[in-house]
Amino acid sequence: MIGEALRAGVAVWPVVVPLAAAALALLLRGRPALQRGVMEGALALTLAAVAALLGRVAGGGRVVMAFGGWGAPVGITFVADALSALLATTAGMVALAVAIFARADVRARRRRAGFDPLFLGMLAAVNGAFLTGDLFNLYVWFELMLVTALGLLTLDRRPAQVDGALRYAAMSMTGATCMLLGIGLLYGVAGTLDMGDLSAALAGRPPSVAVTAASYLLLAGLALKAGVFPLFFWLPASYHTAPIGVAAALAGLLTKAAFYACLRVLVTVLGVGTAAAAVPGVPPLLALLAAATMLVSVLAAIAQVDVRRLLAFHVMGQVAYLVMGLSLATAAGAAAAVVYTVHTMLVQTGLFLGAGAIARAGRGYDLRLLGGLIREHPVFAALFAALALSISGIPPLSGFWAKALVVDAAFRSAAPWRGWLAAAALVTGFLTLYSMSTLWTRAFQRPRRREGGAAHRIPTAMVVAVGLMAACTVGLGVAIEPVVRISRVAAAELMAGPAQGGGAP
């Protein structure tokens, strides 16, 4: 019976396990070692759960869990399909790397300040956002993401962190308000919150002011959370202030969850890219936003001298590729965006963790003072180089496939601006390489500027964490086929229309 329950709950464990562990860690407040044990154990269980889920749905088909036994459209359902399971698994890997890194980076003081419950809460929120089939439930998870992110951001309570969190909170709340308003308007028109049911209810309708406004408000809210120009200011205002392990988790998880929500809401609910699009005008807007985000972010990144800031801008520059895939409004574009999401979650996290290790070895993040790390840390230099090349789209790393797929999807689409979009993507690729090669040369190759002799030791846990992400990007580069296949299934499921939940009203 327990085994049965375990299997039955496979779709909810990725959320329930970290939630329960968060509560437990909260109760163990003041006992850092125990807290860490709870967190790591819960993480392992979560990872097992998402992997099992992925195994179950990889070939197509979905696992539906109706909370309280109330099936869609009345109750809340978790709909695990290829897309959500793939991203939840990737999120699990990201969390694993962060947890490993945290062994060296998060000391008792930060754990007492609540690292473990907050981190678990964030993991639960991200998985919840990936799995839920209910629009309002999605909003709740986004708010949980916001709250936990604010907490993690201010773990050290430094003035910069508080300042950054304040900006983050103000702008994110504005975005969340847009989202909530959009959801309310959709409920007012369609009388339902289940994504599948909403999609069916909206499909046949002539366009109306309420639905259009709701869609675009949702788009604005999610674009803000995904870090899309010109709504992305919260990200460069705050990410660089966070403890670096936290920044890695935020970079790997949050904007991607927001993009995932964009994909769900725009494609599944509003039918963008399908014959039954409920609102017109989304693809050109997204294309414009994608191109602008790419170029603005990568240029801003080039100007940076602080590794964290530099990487923060690349977070947005990479998100733009996801938006570009979505803007094509084709199955190939969506599939490419999914592959890109998997890639960028892993690599962004790896880069931020790498930045943490760089700072540990070179005592700071300022590229004007760093240098010479290749002498003492050749292996780490190679790992970081793999990540840097991956984000620049150099083969045979995951970033190459991701970028090639997105550009290829652009070429194969019918959008009149496909050539320009592809050109913007390639120019951004060049500028990304430009930025990352400068970063690498400065931090590793150039003789050290800062007085004080040799570089410091990098804790093994940090190298392992960075290595895990580097191994992921190399591994995916060599064997991208499964991810491509799953992403195709995911895109087909997305495009096929409503995700049907369980029972009927």
């Binding site: 910069a160 969190a165 909170a169 308003l181 409920y187 700071g364 300022d366």
Partner: protein, 127 residues
């Protein structure tokens, strides 16, 4: 009634935004709270305002009679509590920011902006 409620909610939203755009952080926090209330009213409106009858099943009855739509109410309740939590966090952040930097003007709070600022002439010395 709808028109009136819509008008009130929209007006509240406008006032909220006007406060959010202030450079004073506390004002901004209050503005966000106000905007939240406005959106809650609009969310409430999604169930249409038709009756003053609360969605309680009367003793003896087994199903709900004519009453207000309960779903938006549940949503608004959730949104109120979340908004409350966030507002308090914001207030705590504002307080902490004031303790740290001695000002509540968002343009004078510079700690985050100064950290690793590429446009600053001298390399920063954090950590």
């Amino acid at each position: 009634m709808s028109v009136l409620l819509a008008l009130a909610a929209a007006g509240l939203a406008g006032c909220g935004l006007y406060m959010i755009l202030s450079r004073h952080v506390v004002r901004m926090v209050l503005g966000l709270s106000l905007l939240g209330t406005a959106v809650n009213l609009m969310l409430f409106q999604a169930g249409r305002v038709r009756t003053a009858q609360p969605p309680l099943i009367r003793e003896g009855a087994v199903r709900l009679g004519e009453s207000a739509d309960p779903v938006p109410q549940a949503l608004v309740l959730t949104a109120i509590v979340i908004g409350f939590a966030l507002t308090v966090i914001l207030a705590a952040l504002a307080l902490r920011a004031f303790r740290g930097e001695g000002t509540l003007r968002s343009d004078e709070l510079r700690a985050a902006r100064a950290l690793g600022d590429p446009l600053a002439p001298e390399p920063g010395r954090d950590r």
